[in-house]
Symmetry: C2
Subunit: 607 residues, 2 copies
C-alpha cells in the first residue's frame, strides 16, 4: 500500500487558490465600499474562509467514506443516518454559515455571496453529500427570503437559518423528471393561504430524516382549475410536522416516505420518493401568488444550478489535489531520454503524460471555480449595486452563464476526476483512496437540477435568443473589456487575440442559428444544442483563464513575493487551456452553424 | 419506478450485430476453406454464438448485480465468493468454450479465434467480473500452448482447458505497477526447471479462491544474477497447490494471500496481493528459456489488451442496449416545434439530444467491437494463413492496432456508458438499473493491462517507428484498399475521401515525429503521445466505420430483406462518426506535429 496520507487536513483546496480568485481576479475587497458590506474587510473574509476550511476538514471530511459505505436506510419506519452527519450539520449551523450572506437583522453575517460560496467550496470538497443538507436549506431559505410573506419568513426562514429546520425542493415526479409542465401534484384550497396537498414527488434530496426538528419542503403543485403546463404551477410550503402556535414542531403533516433511491454517489444525502397527503391530511401554504410557482422556483433553481457547478468544481479540485500529492510521492518508470534500467525510477510527476493528466484537472477545475465565483459575484452585484443598468447587465450575464456553469463544470470536472483515478493507476480504482468516490459523487452533477441536455436547450433555445440576442451581446461586450486589458500585457496578449477570434466565431454561430430558426423553425437549429454549449462553455472558460492569467502576470510584474511559482502555474495552465482546449471550439461551431442534421434525422427503427 | 424489464434476456448484444460483423464485414466464412477450420461452416459458428448467448444470459447475467453488492471476502482465512460465480464458470467450462479455439486433439472445438471472441462478447456484456476468471484462464492456457513444454501442456494446460484449474498472470508488484523493469520477485534454481520463488505481487485478479481444484499462476521473476531491467526477467509457472504424481492437486505451495483490493468495479473478480514463498517453500517451474519472460508474457499481454478492449466494447454495447430500450419506453417532454402543454409527451428517443447520446454510444461501442473482431481475425490469419508475407502483414497490423484497441476502446466506451446513465436521467445513477455498474466496471479498463498512457507511449514511441515505420505503412496500405473499394459506392464515397485525407494527416504527423526524434531526442516528440493515440484511434475507428458502411451499402444494394433498417442504421452511424467525431483529429495532429511543449515544460513547483 502507498503511504500517502489522504487525511492530510490541509490538502483538498489550496488556500492560495481561493485567495487568488477572490482578491486577485475578482477584487472582492471593493465590495466593502458598499454600505451593505461596510463592516467587512479582507480580514473578516479571511476569517470566514479559514473557519470554513477548518470546519470542513475536521467535521465533514472524516466521514466522507463512511457515509458512502453506510448509506441511509429505513429501520422500523424511521430513517437512520450515520451520526456524523447530524453532528456536522449542527456544527455548520452553529458556525453561522447557514446565514452567512443574510443581514444582521435575520441573524446573518452579511457576507458577500461570493465569499460565502468560496467558504462553501471547502465543504463540497470535503463531503459533498453531507453538505447537500446545508445547501438545500440555504437555497430554500433564499427562496422564502425573496418571495415569502413576512410571517413565513419569521416562522420558517428564521429556524432554517439557525439549522432548527432543514429545507428541500420538491419538483420532479415519477412521470415527470425534467418536464415540469407535466406535474400532477394537486393543491385544493382550504381558505386563506392554506391548501390540501396531494401527490407524489421523486428524487427529493433530504426528503425525510430526523436531523432537525422539522423539514420545510418547497413543493410545486397545481391548484384546481389551473391552466395546463407550466403556467398553472404554484409554489407551496409544506412542513414535515405542523407548527405549534409557538412555532415549534407539532404533529406529523401526512408527508410519507415512499422509498429511498440507492445511488452511485452522493450516498450520504438521503434521496427519497415522497407521498404528500396519502391520508388526505397534508396541509401546505401558498408562497407568493398563485400560478407563479415556476418563476419562483427558478430563482432557487438558478442558484442551485450554479451550486451544482461549484460542487463539480470543488470535487474536481479535491481529486486534483489528491492525485497531485500522489504523483509527487510515487516513484515509477524512467524518462524517455534515460532508459538505464539500473537508474532509480523517477516520481511519476516527471512523466509528461502524468503532467497532462494533472494540467487538465487544474485547467478544468480552476476554470470552473473561477466561473462559479464570477457568477456569485454577479449575484452580489444584482443585490447591492445602485445603478439599474449594472443590475440588468449582471442579470443578463447570469442568464447565459448559469446553464454553462452547471453543464460545463459537471461535464469537465467529471473528466478531471477520471484523470485523478488515472494518475493513481490501480490504487485509483480502489476504495483505499477517495478519488473513485469523487468520480461517483460527481457523476450525479450532469443530471440533477436539470440534465445537461436541458441546460443546452435552455442556453441555445432561450438564452441565446432572448431580447433579440441581448444577453449574448452583453457577455461579448464584457469579455472584450478583459480582452482589451490583456492586450496590453505581453505575457497574455496572444491568448487575448485567440479568445477574440473564438468569441467572434461564437457570435457568428449564434447569429446563424437565430437566422435559421426564423427560416426553418426550431427543430433543426436546436438539434445541436449540446455542441453549442460545448462551444460557448469553452469560450467562457478560456475567458476565465484569460482573467486569471492577466491577474497572475500583473502580480508577477509587481514582484509577487512568495507566490511566483503559484502565478507561473496559473500562466502555464492558461497556456494549456488555450493550446489544448480552446481549439476544440472550431469543430463544435461547424456542427452548429452547419445545421448538421445527423442527430435529428436518425430514426428510432434504425437503432 | 419505471417498468423497464432490465432482465429481458435478449437485450444486451443484438444478435444481428455479431452476425453483421462476422459475416458481412469480416467474411469469416472464407476461413472454413482452410484445412484447420474445414469442419466448420456458418451453421456451426451460429450454434456456438447462440449457445454462448444463452449461457451468458441465463448463467452469467442474473448475478451481475449480486456479485457487485456481495464482494469477495475472507472468512477464517478462506476466500468466500457468491456461489453463482462457481456455477457459472463450471457451466462455461462444461460448454467447451474454455477450449473453443484449441485443436480437437487438446479437447477443443477448433473454432476461429474471431468467432470465439464474438462468443465471449456475450459474457463480457452479461457479467464482466465473472467472465474474467474464464478469460484469464484462456489467456494463460494460450501462453502455455505457445511456450510451455510438452509436459507442461499435459499437466497444466489440459486441466485449464476443462476448467479444473484456473489461471492468472502475476506481473505487477507493489512498487512497480506499470514498470516491469523494476520487479523484484526472485527465482532461485533448485535443479532442472525447478526454482524457489520469493516475492510479492499486486493487483492479481483471480489470485486466490476455491473455484477450481488448483490455480496456475504465471509469474514474472528474476533469476539470481540476471541482468537488470526487462532483459533479466524470466517466466515461471507456480501452482496454488503442488501437483500429485497423478496430476491432481496436492499440498499447498506457499502462495499466500496478502490482502484483497476493494475496487469500484469488476467487484466479483477477486483482486489480490499475493506473497510467494513467505516460508521459503514456494516452488515454480521455468517456462521456456531464462530471461525471455517478458517476451513470452507479451504474447499473453497483447491478447489480454485486445480482450480489455473487447470488454470495454461489450460493456458499451450493453449500456447502449439498456438505454435504447429505456429511451423507447420513457415518455417525457415535447419537441421544440410542438410546445402545446396539453399534448401528450413524446418518448424521449424523439429528442435530438437523446439520439445524440444513443448515436455516440452506438458509434463508439460498435466501432470498438469492429476493431476487436478485426484484430481477432488477424490472429487467425497469423495462425492459419500459408504465405509468410500475409502472416507478417497480420503481425504488423496487430503491433499497431493492439494499443489502440486497448486504449481507444476503454476511453470511448467508458464515455458510452456515461451516456447510457445520462439517457436514464436520475434512474441512471440508481442501482435499480445496470448502467451505473457498467460505468464502474468499465472504469478499470483504461488502467489494467497497462494504463492508456503506457499504450500511447507504446504506440508512438515503439510501434510507429519500428522497422523505419513499416507497421504504420502496412496499416495505411491496408486501409487504402478499403478506401478504394468504398470509392466505388456512392453511399460511402464521401466518407472514403474524408478518411483518405485523415490518413494522410496521420502519416504526415507520424513522419514529423520521427524526424523530430532524430533531431531532438525523445522527450519532446513523445510528450504528446496521448494526442497521437487519440488521432490514430479516431482514424482507425473511422476506417472500421467505413468498412461497416461499405458492407451495409452493399447489402442494401442487394436487397437486404428484413434487415434494411439495421443497415440504414449502420450507414447513419457511420455518417455520425465522420461528421461528429473524425474532424477531432485535426486538433490532435496539430498538437503532435507542432511539438507542443506545454505538458513537458510544466514544472512540479508550479502546480
Amino acid at each position: 500500500m502507498i503511504a500517502l496520507d489522504v487525511n492530510n487536513p490541509s490538502c483538498l483546496i489550496d488556500a492560495r487558490e481561493l485567495s487568488f480568485q477572490l482578491y486577485d481576479v475578482l477584487d472582492v475587497e471593493t465590495l466593502t465600499r458598499r454600505a451593505w458590506f461596510a463592516d467587512h474587510d479582507r480580514t473578516t473574509f479571511d476569517s470566514a474562509l479559514e473557519m470554513a476550511r477548518k470546519l470542513a476538514e475536521e467535521r465533514f471530511r472524516p466521514h466522507h467514506r463512511k457515509s458512502d459505505l453506510e448509506e441511509p436506510r429505513v429501520v422500523d419506519g424511521r430513517v437512520r443516518l450515520i451520526p456524523e452527519i447530524a453532528a456536522a450539520i449542527n456544527d455548520f449551523a452553529s458556525s453561522g454559515l447557514l446565514a452567512a450572506h443574510h443581514g444582521y437583522a435575520a441573524g446573518g453575517m452579511q457576507l458577500p455571496w461570493v465569499v460565502a460560496q468560496a467558504c462553501y467550496a471547502h465543504f463540497h470538497a470535503a463531503n459533498v453529500a453531507t453538505f447537500a443538507y446545508c445547501f438545500l436549506t440555504i437555497a430554500a431559505a433564499n427562496l422564502l427570503d425573496a418571495f415569502g410573506s413576512a410571517e413565513q419568513k419569521q416562522r420558517y426562514m428564521r429556524p432554517m437559518l439557525s439549522g432548527r429546520f432543514l429545507g428541500t425542493m420538491c419538483l420532479s415526479e415519477p412521470q415527470a423528471g425534467s418536464s415540469l409542465a407535466d406535474i400532477r401534484t394537486r393543491a385544493t384550497p382550504l381558505g386563506g393561504s392554506r391548501y390540501r396537498i396531494t401527490g407524489s414527488k421523486m428524487w427529493i434530496s433530504g426528503g425525510e430524516h430526523e436531523l432537525s426538528e422539522n423539514i420545510v419542503h418547497l413543493v410545486l403543485a397545481r391548484t384546481d382549475g389551473a391552466p395546463p403546463g407550466v403556467k398553472g404551477i404554484s409554489l407551496f410550503l409544506v412542513t414535515r410536522r405542523r407548527l405549534r402556535p409557538d412555532g415549534g414542531p407539532g404533529e406529523l403533516n401526512d408527508v410519507v416516505l415512499g422509498g429511498l433511491n440507492h445511488k452511485m454517489g452522493y450516498r450520504g444525502t438521503i434521496n427519497t420518493a415522497l407521498n404528500f397527503g396519502e391520508r388526505g391530511d397534508c396541509i401546505g401554504e401558498l408562497v407568493g401568488e398563485p400560478h407563479r410557482g415556476l418563476a419562483y422556483m427558478f430563482h432557487m433553481m438558478n442558484e442551485a444550478r450554479i451550486v451544482v457547478g461549484m460542487s463539480a468544481a470543488a470535487l474536481g479540485l479535491a481529486g486534483f489535489r489528491v492525485s497531485l500529492d500522489y504523483a509527487r510521492q510515487r516513484p515509477q518508470g524512467r524518462l524517455p531520454q534515460a532508459k538505464d534500467p539500473s537508474a532509480p525510477p523517477v516520481m511519476i510527476i516527471k512523466h509528461a503524460d502524468v503532467r497532462r493528466l494533472l494540467l487538465e484537472q487544474k485547467a478544468y477545475a480552476e476554470g470552473a471555480l473561477a466561473l462559479g465565483l464570477y457568477c456569485a459575484r454577479l449575484l452580489d452585484e444584482q443585490k447591492t449595486v445602485e445603478e439599474t443598468s449594472a443590475r440588468e447587465r449582471a442579470g443578463a450575464l447570469l442568464d447565459v452563464l448559469t446553464p454553462i456553469m452547471k453543464a460545463w463544470s459537471s461535464e469537465w470536472c467529471l473528466r478531471a476526476n477520471s484523470n485523478a483515478i488515472q494518475v493513481l493507476g490501480g490504487y485509483g480504482y480502489t476504495r483505499d483512496f477517495p478519488v473513485e468516490q469523487y468520480y461517483r459523487d460527481n457523476r450525479l452533477n450532469p443530471i440533477h437540477e436539470g440534465t445537461n441536455g436541458i441546460q443546452a436547450i435552455d442556453l441555445l433555445g432561450r438564452k441565446a435568443s432572448m431580447n433579440d440576442g441581448q444577453a449574448v451581446r452583453t457577455v461579448a461586450t464584457t469579455m472584450r473589456v478583459d480582452i482589451e486589458a490583456a492586450n496590453a500585457l505581453s505575457a497574455v496578449a496572444a491568448h487575448a487575440a485567440q479568445l477574440d477570434r473564438a468569441l467572434a466565431l461564437l457570435q457568428d454561430t449564434t447569429a446563424t442559428v437565430a437566422a435559421a430558426r426564423a427560416r426553418l423553425g426550431d427543430a433543426l437549429p436546436l438539434s445541436n444544442a449540446t455542441s453549442y454549449l460545448d462551444l460557448f462553455g469553452h469560450v467562457v472558460i478560456a475567458w476565465m483563464w484569460l482573467r486569471q492569467a492577466t491577474a497572475a502576470a500583473t502580480r508577477i510584474q509587481n514582484g509577487a513575493p512568495g507566490l511566483r511559482d503559484f502565478y507561473l502555474g496559473k500562466l502555464h495552465t492558461a497556456r494549456f487551456f488555450f493550446r489544448h482546449e480552446l481549439p476544440r471550439v472550431e469543430h463544435c461551431a461547424k456542427l452548429v452553424a452547419g445545421l448538421d442534421d445527423t442527430c435529428l434525422t436518425m430514426q428510432d427503427t434504425w437503432f
